[in-house]
């Protein structure tokens, strides 16, 4: 039998043993090992210093990194603006539960399936032939020629980003919706009686009160944008100037088996996520304090 004191000290670690072992195996050890491999050559044998990182920020890789920057800016902002719209307006209609349900539905769908679903929206036939893609058919109604949504530069990146917006808007709406419900109804009613317009109420009363939730939406969506892989892999496989670093990593790993390059890309991803991790840690500490 253990002495009482030792038993008490050891007990939490006994409970935590299995969870910690798993996390160390699947997350902690690989992070450290990837750092090491990122400084080695393609076969992870000889040390090559910072060569892989120099590769990652030069030549064709610059376009890939640039696409990720576009994702990192456009995706969270579009999602946020649309979610402010849905959360605010849904709050004012009687069938809010139905509206919420509809925006939640896509959040249950995988990025892979979401991409398959959107092939029907973006499908393109040369001008003159009947358009079977939804968007081009609508354009045709207005006499506008078809757009090759997945091929035309910049347009195709935005088209891919919008698939992610469709899939994730429900999450952003839920977060903002619950924040808006916590803004005092009496306060808003009083402002309304004073003759304040809806836009004014939104800007000077609702928005300041839900800022923390806006931050949560942004950080959540930045992380999604950072590791986006499925949509690009399924829709274009990185062709037509749509490649992103997570897809490039898959390519380096499988098509060319360059472990050094793949690891350097992974480390860049990790470092890009670091600011968000710090924001979350500060927020977490602030909440945990009595």
């Amino acid at each position: 039998m253990l002495p009482l004191g030792l038993g008490r000290t050891a007990r939490p670690w006994v409970w935590l043993l299995l969870p910690i072992l798993l996390v160390v195996l699947i997350l902690i050890y690989p992070v450290i090992a990837t750092f090491a491999t990122s400084l080695k050559d393609a076969r992870a044998e000889a040390w090559v210093g910072s060569e892989n990182y120099r590769w990652a920020f030069s030549g064709a890789m610059l376009d890939v990194v640039g696409n990720n920057v576009l994702w990192l800016i456009a995706f969270p902002l579009i999602t946020l603006v649309l979610a402010l719209f849905t959360a605010t307006l849904f709050d004012k209609v009687r069938y809010e539960p139905l509206a919420i349900m509809v925006v939640i539905l896509p959040t249950a769908i995988s990025f892979t399936e979401g991409s398959v679903i959107w092939t029907q929206m973006y499908s393109f036939q040369p001008a003159g032939s009947p358009q079977i893609g939804t968007l081009n058919a609508v354009l045709g109604l207005f006499g506008v020629g078809p757009v090759p949504w997945l091929i035309q530069p910049v347009v195709n990146n935005l088209a891919l980003i919008f698939i992610a917006v469709w899939l994730q808007l429900g999450i952003a709406t839920l977060i903002l919706s619950s924040a808006i419900k916590n803004v005092g109804a009496e306060m808003i009613e009083a402002a309304r009686l004073d003759g304040a317009g809806e836009w004014r109420i939104f800007r000077s009363m609702i928005l300041p009160n839900i800022l923390p939730s806006v931050l949560v939406v942004l950080t959540t969506m930045i992380i999604v944008a950072l590791k986006v892989f499925d949509i690009v892999y399924v829709m274009t496989n990185g062709n037509f100037g749509t490649d992103v670093i997570a897809n490039r990593l898959y390519y380096e790993l499988f098509a060319v088996s360059n472990l050094g390059h793949a690891s350097a890309i992974a480390v860049i991803l990790l470092f890009s996520a670091l600011p968000i991790a710090l924001v979350n840690i500060f927020q977490f500490r602030a909440e945990a304090r009595p």
Partner: protein, 302 residues
Amino acid sequence: MSETIPQGVPAPRPVAFARTVPSSGGRTGALRWLVHAVVAFIVLWFLPILALLLSSLRPQADTATSGWWMALVRPSYTAENYLLALDQLRIAGSLGTSLAIAIPTTVLVVLLSVIGAYALVRMNFAGRTALSLLLVALLVTPPQITLVPLLRLYNLMGLSGTIPGIWLYQVGFTLPFGVFLLRGFIALIPQELFERAHLDGASELRTFRSIVLPLSRPIMASLGIMAFLWSWNDLLIPLLFMGGSSMSLPITVNLAGMVAQTTQGQGPLMAATFLSVAIPLVLVISLQRYFVRGILGGAVKG
């Protein structure tokens, strides 16, 4: 833990969706406009799912020559796409593999998370704060950082191409979120309950089984839904770790492969996709309350 409600826990009135119809009647014009805007928006947002369902039911010849909306104009439906998907695309096997991955993953994530969260919240030990902060940092770790070493490790350990290998990965990767979500909830269980159990001479294990487990059931359900969805919807990990397996590929991997080759035509692909979104959609519709709580409670990750 203080009296303040930490983020990991539903606020007193999380999303009540109460009727908040504006009381004043002076802006009926603006209101009607607003109602139209919301109706238009939800119709647009639902359109892709409707398109998926209709395309999956249209005869091959129609799909090749006209858009999905023609199924509404000239209705003509068939189940042949579903038969083709099940027969030639081996969708039943894929759905089976996906279930064989997702169900054990879900059970293990929930079990290990509640154990970890309990130890983290209830027990005072050196390193607890550091462990909590590490947990929060791990929430946003991209999965890509783990791939190179784990592919090698999996090959060494013979885990590549096996279903238990995927369980191991997904459980390890989802655990930080699970512990994070549950710890906020368990921290809200009144202190007196534990003190009384302690006075009654209940052991740590007994307290866990008779207080923590029953009280945490709703949040465990939330975690369960999210863990299932993540596992079911994951493409990257099965794509990398199930390669070279003789089993049916998981549904996401199978679908991603099908998009590239158009030999089968759109119909069967849409039927296969509809079958694979059916399970998550039914889950989220029927257990919406728990799903919403999981999203709000774990909002730091998403």
